[in-house]
């Protein structure tokens, strides 16, 4: 008790120290006056009395010091003094302070930016209350692919578990909302069990969510809307509740509005009870909330056991499937221990270490200039720990400002990063805002930088030999040792920069134009849009194909001369991998599957893209009819599977590896198309283009080439589609380059991020090289002066500077190569042919480093060559 009381009063003293000081002063005065009064009463003269009073009182200043030690917290007081002193010092050396703060700030900022991204993707967790107590259920087949659960399995599991508050299931998919006199909207939707919202828990803004009654077969169909959909479609009108609509053609009543982001997780804006979907669902997404009195690991074991028992009881439907039960955060977020994130963290620390090494060298330089000051302080009794503390406090001040700059850099960097990603490309649960974790990381990293950049130079400086420094006018005190330290810091940062540069070289080499085959045609005027034909209204091949044919005829009427087309899969948008059988050849090799992407197209697809075939012809209107089962393959297909043979007239068979669709009969190849890149980051893949008519997709992409304004074209497309079916919305209307950009953002963002990081690292390393060289030149002025006086030529002087630089950079490069190889051992490269540790990448890095030398050496070597021998020698 008393201890706390003393502490509080000492802290108060600290806060009101000037008031306390005044009080002490007054008390002493009053005491001395009282004493003097007494002595005068005893018969002394006023002067004698005052002197006697002082004697009786004792040493006033000593007492004050004693009193001050009793008051406040001496350590804090001393730190405050150090802090004030550091601020004064930094203010005097603004150039140094600004450089150090900026260099450090960039390092800390980049590190924090990377941490913010890491945090959003791995650590934060889903925006679900106590998301760590929600688990996700699925099955894994023998090929390691993840599948949902069937309705029967879901029912069996949710009926048997005991450690759960409940288990919910949903099936997400597009839903078309129409039937209330407004134009149809295609929304992300989900069929959910009645308990799904309660388990999250999510409560409706208005109206109600589903009850068990709603989720029974035969119940009146109801639907819940998301807030955004409610706002856009009904202008947040409360009378939307109770409205009769159709969802996917089924009449239903709107009963409630859920806040946005009420998914499990998901982007759904409309929900219906699972019973409306029927009991035949085979790919349900299932999650459960662990009961409050159960442990998560218990619950996981329990449900996995039940799922495995089901698998053995119903071997026909559950064959080869193993249950997979994971915390929901692991299912939807990355883990910080994943390779890519470890690489991310490492890069973050590389950048911060480079900037630390830089600042450390600045501090070393300065401690050299301050050697005299430190020596004097040491000689008048400053203890070594006191000097050390002073230097560390300076470090802390720099790091604090650096952290501030870093926060700005991180916030700005994240803003740019966010802008580079299309808004709908990332799941909404990646939250890049600053939370306590980000701030804690910022503080921790900034504190750690102090240890790296300030401690070593401080120890070095506090070790100063007083006598030597004072005698030699502070010129050569510990120079050799300092130089070794400075070179070590420099080599270290060069080595780290080499690692990033080597990866940058890989990045540049991989994005060489020759490797990217995605812009072989001029696609700027190609507008695309998608339609999804609901199975209720278009059951089976015949109505689907009839719709596409009618639509194509209307599109041709609009586009005039240039042809329009429909395809199952747009360029750059992937495709369904299908197993390929070639007539007269053996089946797939044992080691590798023989697969190609299957893409359904209408006639004149390639003409619509403004491409001409390499061999043969386009598909005709009749292709796909019985007796006309023809197909087109691309060049990569011909190269890979039909080497040396005549391609045209060969017959192939496609069996989609997905067992749902049965595959095709024999198709005759009638044309060879140029390679169009379908997937990012892959070389040309074999593609088979089949007539859309023989396998019309439920979701189709329309292609129209037009020089008109995109919005006008989209409007026209919408009119044509809705002339055929007023309840059919078009979506993802955009130009082909936009499609590509939206799909490619991942590669684009990551390569730009890497470019940015490498740029920062290289800029910092160049700066370090420059600073060290400049410093070395100024240290050597004397020697340079003597050499010049003895007749050395300018180029010899410059040669000396460059030679030293070259040696340092070589050491840095050597260390960097070792680091790069170590890096590749830890994070195996994606492409074994083009990687960071290969000779080409390293040669590129070496060339880049020579460029760095040129930049870093320009100013210092000029300065060296202009040393005036007379002045330099005299300055001693």
């Amino acid at each position: 008790m008393t201890g706390i009381r003393v502490l509080i009063s000492r802290v108060l003293d600290l806060l009101f120290s000037s008031r306390r000081e005044r009080r002490l002063e007054e008390e002493i005065t009053s005491h001395l006056d009282l004493l003097a009064d007494q002595y005068m009463a005893d018969g002394m003269t006023p002067l004698q009395a005052r002197q006697a009073a002082r004697r009786a009182f004792g040493g006033v200043e000593q007492m004050k010091e004693h009193y001050r030690n009793q008051r406040g917290l001496p350590l804090v007081d001393a730190l405050r003094q150090d802090f004030r002193f550091a601020m004064r010092l930094l203010n005097r050396n603004r150039g140094f302070a600004l450089t150090a703060v900026l260099v450090l700030g960039v390092g800390i900022g980049v590190n924090n930016m990377l941490f913010t991204i890491l945090n959003a993707h791995t650590l934060r967790g889903l925006p679900i209350p106590s998301s760590d107590r929600v688990v996700w259920l699925s099955t894994i087949d023998d090929r390691g692919r993840e599948h949902g659960l069937s309705f029967n399995d879901y029912e069996a599991i949710s009926g048997a578990v005991q450690h759960y508050t409940g288990i919910a299931a949903f099936e997400a998919g597009p839903m078309v909302l129409a039937g209330d006199g407004r134009s149809a909207d295609r929304l992300d939707g989900a069929y959910v069990t009645a308990n799904a919202f309660d388990l999250i828990p999510a409560t409706p803004l208005i109206g109600r969510s589903f009850t068990a009654q709603d989720d029974t077969p035969g119940a009146a169909a109801v639907a819940v809307l998301g807030k955004t959909a409610w706002e856009t479609r009904y202008s947040s009108d409360r009378s939307a509740l109770g409205r009769a609509v159709t969802v996917n053609g089924v009449p239903a009543t709107l009963i409630g509005v859920m806040p946005d982001r009420s998914g499990f997780p998901g982007t759904a804006q409309i929900w219906m009870p699972l019973s409306a979907r029927g009991r035949d669902a085979r790919a349900l997404q299932v999650f459960g909330r662990v009961a409050a009195d159960a442990r998560v690991d218990q619950a996981v074991t329990e449900v996995a056991g039940i799922a495995d028992r089901l698998a053995s009881e119903r071997p026909d439907t559950n064959r080869n499937a193993r249950a997979r039960v994971v915390p929901i955060n692991d299912r939807f977020l990355g883990r910080a221990s994943d390779g890519v994130w470890r690489a991310f963290i490492t890069v973050g620390f590389i950048v911060v270490l480079i900037s630390c090494a830089n600042v450390a060298n600045l501090m070393l330089d300065r401690s050299l200039l301050r050697a005299r000051e430190l020596a004097i302080r040491a000689s008048v009794g400053g203890s070594r720990t006191r000097l050390l503390r002073q230097l560390l406090v300076e470090g802390v001040v720099i790091a604090t400002f650096g952290a501030g700059v870093g926060l700005l850099v991180a916030v700005g960097g994240i803003r740019v990063f966010r802008r580079a990603i299309p808004s709908d490309a990332l799941p909404y649960w990646f939250d890049y805002s600053i939370d306590w974790r980000v701030l804690a990381a910022l503080i921790a990293v900034s504190a750690a930088t102090v240890l790296v950049f300030a401690l070593v130079p401080a120890i070095q400086a506090s070790r100063t030999d007083v006598v030597t420094v004072l005698k030699e006018e502070g010129r050569s005190g510990g120079t050799a040792r300092r130089r070794i330290l400075a070179t070590t810091f420099l080599v270290a940062q060069l080595a780290l920069a080499v690692v990033l540069l080597a990866h940058l070289a890989v990045n540049v080499r991989l994005s060489r134009p020759g490797l990217a085959t995605d812009t072989i045609f001029d696609d700027r005027e190609i507008v695309t849009a998608q339609i999804a034909l609901p199975p209720g209204a278009y059951p089976g091949h015949v109505p689907l194909s009839a719709f596409y044919e009618a639509l194509l005829a209307r599109m041709h009427a609009v586009s005039g001369q240039t042809p329009a087309a429909v395809t199952s899969t747009l360029p750059a948008s992937g495709g369904d991998p299908a197993e390929v059988v070639i007539e007269g050849k053996r089946g797939p090799d044992k080691d590798g599957e023989q697969t190609a992407l299957a893409i359904a197209i209408t006639p004149a697809y390639f003409r619509a893209l403004d491409l001409s075939l390499l061999q043969g012809r386009e598909l005709h209107d009749r292709d796909g009819n019985p007796g006309q089962e023809n197909a087109i393959v691309n060049q990569a297909f011909a190269d890979k599977f039909l080497t040396g043979a005549t391609v045209l007239g060969q017959r192939i068979q496609l069996g989609t590896s997905d067992a749902r669709s049965g595959g095709t009969g024999w198709l005759t190849i009638v044309g060879v198309a140029p390679d169009i890149r379908q997937r990012r980051g892959r070389a040309s893949e074999p593609v088979v283009y089949t007539p859309l008519r023989s396998n019309p997709p439920a979701t189709g992409a329309l292609i129209l080439r037009s020089s008109m304004n995109t919005a006008a074209v989209v409007l026209m497309l919408r009119q044509q589609v809705q002339a055929l079916d007023p309840d059919l919305p078009i979506f993802r209307a955009r130009t082909l380059p936009q499609v590509r950009a939206d799909l490619d953002w991942n590669g684009r963002v990551s390569s730009r991020l890497f470019l940015f990081l490498s740029f920062i690292a290289v800029a910092l390393a160049t700066f370090g090289l420059y600073a060290v060289t400049t410093h070395a030149v100024s240290q050597d002025r004397h020697e340079i002066g003597i050499r010049m006086a003895l007749g050395a030529r300018t180029h010899q002087i410059i040669g000396r500077v460059l030679r030293r630089l070259l040696v340092q950079v070589s050491f840095g490069f050597g260390a960097g190569v070792v680091c790069t190889l170590l890096w590749e051992r830890t994070f195996p490269p994606g492409d074994p042919n083009i990687h960071a540790g290969d000779p080409v990448s390293l040669t590129l890095v070496a060339l880049a480093l020579l460029g760095l030398i040129a930049i870093a050496a320009a100013v210092p070597s000029r300065r060296a060559s202009r040393v005036d021998p007379l002045l330099a020698i005299r300055a001693e």
Binding site: R5, E27, S30, H31, A56, F57, V60, H66, N69, Q70
Partner: protein, 112 residues
């Protein structure tokens, strides 16, 4: 400054200040110092200034409190008064002191 035998034994100054305030009521620093000197009857050469750190220490512990007031001869001075906690502490320390003294005395007697 002081000869060793006249120095205030460590820790006893606090006790003396508390006792003085308990017996005499609120006093200013000078008054306390004088009172202690009188009680010591010349056996103790007190540097009067040293009582101020002691007063601060006691105030921090909450055993005494202080306020500005006016002395008998109309000088502004800070008056110190013992608190309830201070009285309790005084009893405790006085007992402890007695025990210590008697123990030391016994030791010394044994030796002689």
């Amino acid at each position: 400054m002081n000869s060793p035998d006249s120095e205030v034994p460590y820790g006893t100054l606090d006790l003396m200040v508390l006792k003085t305030l308990a017996g005499m009521g609120p006093l200013h620093g000078y008054g306390i110092a004088r009172r202690i000197e009188q009680a010591a009857a010349g056996a103790l050469a007190l540097n009067q200034g040293t009582i101020y750190p002691a007063l601060l220490r006691l105030e921090q512990k909450g055993w005494i409190k202080s306020d500005w007031g006016t002395s008998d001869n109309n000088r502004r001075a800070r008056f110190y008064a013992i608190t309830a906690a201070g009285r309790r502490q005084l009893t405790k320390e006085a007992k402890l002191w007695e025990r210590t003294v008697s123990m030391v005395n016994r030791l010394l007697e044994d030796r002689s």
